[in-house]
């Protein structure tokens, strides 16, 4: 048994959403349980801060570095420094785009494009029940240019392209927040040109905000307008219970235990899989009541 505890440097994106906070909490709790000494650095949503943090982990000679990159690109240099210092790097939640794949040992996390596809597939099935009707979709995007926003849009569009009845008529950024989601939805609802049938929100928070706007417009969310969102936070399940949200695609933040186990294996010199996908489900409203008690975030 190793005398000194494993030291892990972890650079988190920030605390920009509930999902992220749950992710952080899971990693911290798992580290504690596993007896891993965690050096945690919050990047406040800035890539440059993450690079600084990784440099400081290298200077502190930690055993393993893990991080959730703010953005895919731009990691070559600092990861090379880590490699030169012989510190293995694990990615969580989001992937990076580097010229040399050996710069990191493994990546655990969700596949945003796949999440978008799952959302799209759910809609396809739903539309199949009522093949005659055109469905007018509005989309609430995440922060312009951010990886989840880009990928969730891409995956969703890819799938619904298969059905010409499905059309996205409006798409606007709601910055992943409730307030913006509500604001944008309000504006969509006022535009009288087309009746809105479906709302696709890139995260639950925006969907929850939009639900309020829909109610205030005198419509019934979940019935008059189908609502699809991603993440699967507790609030979404509550909304589904109340019949206001139709489906949420899970994006699992509870990566802590998996990460710790992986770190141990990596440090012990075992070969590990390059890509580890987290287990994620799709939760339609029907299963919400059963699932809600299991939700920890």
């Amino acid at each position: 048994a190793p005398a000194a505890p494993l030291v892990m440097g972890f650079s988190q994106v920030g605390a920009e959403s509930e999902w992220r906070s749950a992710n952080t909490a899971s990693i911290k709790a798992a580290a504690k349980q596993d007896g891993v000494t965690l050096k945690f650095a919050d990047a406040q949503q800035k890539q440059e801060n993450q690079v600084k943090a990784i440099r400081s982990f290298i200077a502190q000679k930690v055993d393993v570095i893990a991080f959730s990159p703010v953005v895919e690109s731009g990691w070559d240099t600092v990861l090379r420094e880590a490699k030169a210092a012989k510190i293995p790097v694990i990615l969580t939640d989001r992937a990076v785009n580097v010229s040399d794949p050996s710069l990191f040992v493994s990546f655990i996390g969700s596949d945003f494009v796949e999440e978008g596809r799952k959302a799209g597939r759910w809609l396809l099935e739903r539309a199949a029940k009522n093949p005659g009707a055109d469905l007018n979709i509005v989309e609430l995007q995440g922060t312009v240019g951010s990886a989840p926003a880009l990928d969730r849009k891409k995956g969703f569009e890819e799938v619904i392209a298969g059905n010409p009845k499905l059309k996205i008529s409006r798409s606007q950024s709601g910055d992943f927040t409730r307030a913006k989601g509500k604001e944008v939805m309000e504006a969509f609802l006022k535009a009288k040109d087309k009746k809105i049938d479906v709302l696709y929100a890139h995260n639950d928070d925006m969907a929850i905000g939009a639900i309020q706007a829909i109610e205030e417009a005198g419509l019934k969310p979940g019935k008059d307008i189908l609502i699809i969102s991603i993440d699967g936070v507790k609030g979404a399940f509550e909304a589904m219970l109340a019949g206001k949200l139709n489906v949420t695609v899970e994006c699992n933040p509870l990566l802590g235990p998996q990460l710790m186990q992986l770190a141990r294996e990596v440090v012990a010199g075992k070969t590990v899989a390059k890509r580890i996908t987290t287990l994620e489900g799709v939760f339609p409203a029907e299963v919400a009541a059963k699932e809600l008690p299991n939700r920890r975030y």
Binding site: S21, T24, A25, E186
Partner: protein
């Protein structure tokens, strides 16, 4: 005395003429900008001005704009006074987060199920919760005021400290989670209606009325301007400059706190990380669009309100026109440039010269 020998050009209704002149100078231009934006909406967005009665209140795009602009208007009111003293307060967004969080936490983050029925409970009586939230905002203001007026730190740095730490505090309270409120009376503040109009609007009007009353019935307005334009001379004239500066920061934080309550109430939850993000920039922009100068001095409360309306109308227009999100910023930038230019006398002069040159 020599007055007799000097032919002083005294206009007959000098006292009347001047406020009108002032109005022209400071309010006409922002008003024109707002009108222009609305005109664009009228032409490009069908049904933009349509108002209907829904559930006993007015419903429509205009109402949305007012509702959405309300927190910004409040923040801009507070910011107006700070800017008039040649200061700046970048902590507005953080104070919004703190006030919203405190209120949401105290009012009720609990949904209990009794016999399959959801029951909403507030933790402590709502009035106390609201007072506590405003109290927290007040403390923020006192902190800013002490740093600026007491210690003499530069306003931007003094308030930057709270801007950074304040949001952290709010997140500390909530452990990084969004606190959802399940207590309907709380929602009235941000999405209720009174006499058919959003309650938020009435609240803004009340704060505005109170503030302008304060400016008109007391010498506060005069003193704030004097301190903003020439602090040395103001002190020599016997004005308590430090106390005055302290006051405006407290006032600004209180306005921000109220805005925070409104935002939290509107989305029925407190989002410590995102509530009021970059609101300070919008508030400053509103003040400047309304004719206020960052060099301190003359200010116009109504101007700032109009400035806030311009910003919100613009945002709403962008959403309604279906501008792709990646172009949002460019559109916003271009409009801000145009509004600014339309307010510049120099630009007008240039335009006139060009026109004359062509003719």
């Amino acid at each position: 005395m020599s007055a007799a020998s000097l032919p002083v050009a005294r206009r007959p209704s000098a006292d009347r003429a001047v406020p009108r002149q002032f109005l022209q100078q400071t309010l006409l231009r922002p008003l024109a900008a707002l009108a222009l934006l609305l005109l664009i909406d009228l032409l490009c967005i069908p049904g933009f001005f349509a108002l209907e009665i829904k559930e006993g209140h007015l419903y429509g795009s205009l109402i949305d704009i007012i509702n959405r602009a309300a927190p910004l208007m409040l923040a801009a009111l507070g910011m107006t006074l700070v800017i008039a003293t040649r200061g700046i307060d970048v902590s507005v967004g953080a104070v919004v987060a703190i006030a919203g969080t405190v209120a949401a936490l105290l009012v009720g983050g609990r949904l209990t199920m009794e016999g399959g029925l959801p029951v909403y409970v507030s933790h402590i009586p709502m009035a106390w919760a609201l007072l506590a939230a405003l109290g927290a905002a007040l403390l923020c203001g006192v902190w800013n005021g002490l740093l600026v007026a007491g210690l003499g730190l530069q306003p931007i740095i003094a308030t930057l400290i709270l801007m950074v730490a304040g949001r952290g505090l709010a997140q500390l309270f909530t452990d990084g989670q969004i606190v959802t409120v399940y207590y309907p009376p709380f929602f009235f503040l941000g999405s209720g209606y009174l006499f058919g109009l959003p309650f938020a609007l009435w609240l803004v009007l009340a704060v505005f009325g109170l503030t302008s009353l304060l400016m008109r019935k007391t010498a506060l307005g005069l003193f704030i301007q004097a301190v903003g334009i020439n602090p040395v001379a103001a002190r020599l004239a016997g004005i308590k400059t430090a106390a005055l500066i302290f006051f405006v920061y407290v006032y600004c934080s209180l306005c921000a706190g109220l805005a925070g309550l409104m935002i939290a109430s509107n989305i029925k939850s407190a989002d410590a990380n995102n509530a009021g993000l970059a609101l300070e920039l919008d508030a400053i922009l509103a003040v400047t669009l309304g004719g206020g100068s960052l060099n301190g001095g003359k200010f116009s409360l109504i101007g700032s309100l109009i400035g806030a309306l311009i910003i919100q109308t613009l945002t709403y227009t962008i959403y309604s026109l279906g501008v792709p999100p990646e172009v949002n910023m460019v559109v916003k930038a271009v409009v801000v440039f145009l509004v600014c230019l339309s307010q510049s006398s120099e630009f007008k002069r240039l335009g006139r010269r060009l026109l004359r040159g062509k003719a």
